[in-house]
Symmetry: C2
Subunit: 254 residues, 2 copies
DNA sequence: CCAAGTGTACTGGTCAGACCAGTTGTTTCG
DNA sequence: CGAAACAACTGGTCTGACCAGTACACTTGG
């Protein structure tokens, strides 16, 4: 198999990076599982044969990646954490903010996700989840006159339940990350001009229609509605040159 | 605006976190831009009034997030980096491989992504990208008799180009992560039984059809084909109870 | 005068040892 | 037996030091 001795570029690996690498690997291969404990920093400096400063730098990196958590005084040592979407969320946010990812890409992404999860939710929703959705939509309706805070909270609640009902964690996580990044961006843009009355009524009507499709277990319709609505909602904010892809996603097959 | 004095839960913030926060904020608000330099660690310990160890922990976190880069000996200090999708990629990968996600979810996710990116690719592909795809498909064809390694490499190349041609980095990143996790999972399962001849011929036929649709700029057909093929490919590996969602995604609207 | 080599003053990477505030589990005392 | 005091840890931070690099100004030989 080794046809030729291939040399490959190297870059100096610092001690703390090697430690991060090892622990990351141990977690990836399930040698360390959520809830498990790492030895204390002072023990770790023994096993890795480095100073505590180096151990700590490694631990800080792992901690910032959401892989472990250190609490002072805990004699059981740093805890291995369950993988969480938090860092994904942050990474996506940064990327969008920095302009590396265009708004149109983010909206396309969300159109796709929202459509798919509504389709799946129509199929997989439990009766309980349906009731939670109903309650949320009703809460939107009754708070439409009140503050926009309560309204958008109910709106988020509705969509969160849809994601949950899709029974697909990946979509749930990515959808949540995309939604978060999107509202952050939009809030920056329309800055202090939250949902107007008309906007709220429109959102309510949309959610209501989607709810009906999900209740009827009509996945195709639910997905189609969701795609259309997201496009309708965000379409105006996207530069004209970037809109053609969106339109295509909205009507995937005729 | 302040209707009531609302108390809110707090958690102790460590010194290095406060530093990370400040620098992150400065980058987010464009006070610091890619190519700019941070003061040296020794200067930073002055401005933040902490020890160098603390400064370094903060820098390590920022570095692991891809925001800055430190090089020893560089008298200009740590460099602010252009935001890159690398950390998002890593986060996505970790999440997908954390094992909390079922195979069926992963496949659903990929069906959705593959469909959407093929649709977008049909619209957005450049002539150059089309040629790369053509070359990749031809490479698959010619290596079908040879090793399966070369074949699957060409296959990956084809799909990677499709993602690239979608001009949506988010989908590209998520698609790549999903693909990686999926082949890992499948390799674990069928372990040492790589693509058989029949399997290869099938994949080739699929990619070829997709290629034709992309060439014809028929986004709807490209997406539909991609969805169908992914389902066809992975469908058998999924437990029967989890298949109904997939089928729905395959035919989003009639 | 210029190019090539030399120095030097910085940089980050790592280490050793120390102190503090906090948690935990045990022990002691009422 | 319960509650308060204790001891043995934990992580968070600081000080001060050394090394191996880099960049840039400075010599020095042509």
């Amino acid at each position: 198999m080794t046809d030729k001795t291939e040399f490959v570029a190297v870059k100096p690996v610092r001690a703390y990076e090697a430690i991060v690498e090892q622990i990351e690997q141990a977690i990836a291969t399930r040698q360390l599982n959520p809830g498990d404990r790492l030895p204390s920093e002072r023990d770790l400096m023994g096993t890795f044969a480095v100073s505590r400063a180096t151990v700590r730098e490694a631990l800080r990196v792992l901690e910032s990646g959401g892989l472990v958590r250190s609490r002072p005084g805990d004699p059981r040592g740093p805890e291995i954490l369950q993988a969480s979407p938090a860092t994904l969320h942050k990474a996506m946010n940064r990327l969008v903010r920095s302009g590396t990812i265009k708004l149109s890409e983010l909206v396309e992404f969300r159109v796709m996700l929202e459509g798919a999860s509504c389709t799946l939710a129509a199929e997989h929703r439990t009766p309980e989840q349906l009731e939670v959705m109903r309650t949320a939509v009703e809460a939107m309706e009754s708070s439409i006159a009140g503050g926009s805070a309560a309204f958008s909270q109910a709106d988020v609640e509705f969509h969160a339940t849809v994601w949950e009902a899709s029974h697909n964690q990946l979509m749930q996580i990515c959808g949540d990350a995309a939604r978060g990044a999107l509202v952050d961006l939009v809030n920056d843009r329309i800055d202090s001009a939250p949902d107007s009355g008309a906007q709220m009524k429109l959102s309510l009507a949309h959610d209501y229609e989607i709810f009906n499709a999900i209740e009827a277990q009509d996945g195709a319709r639910a997905g189609q509605l969701a795609r259309t609505f997201v496009i309708e909602y965000y379409g105006d904010m996207i530069e004209h040159g970037d809109r053609n892809g969106l339109a295509l996603l909205g009507v995937p097959s005729e």
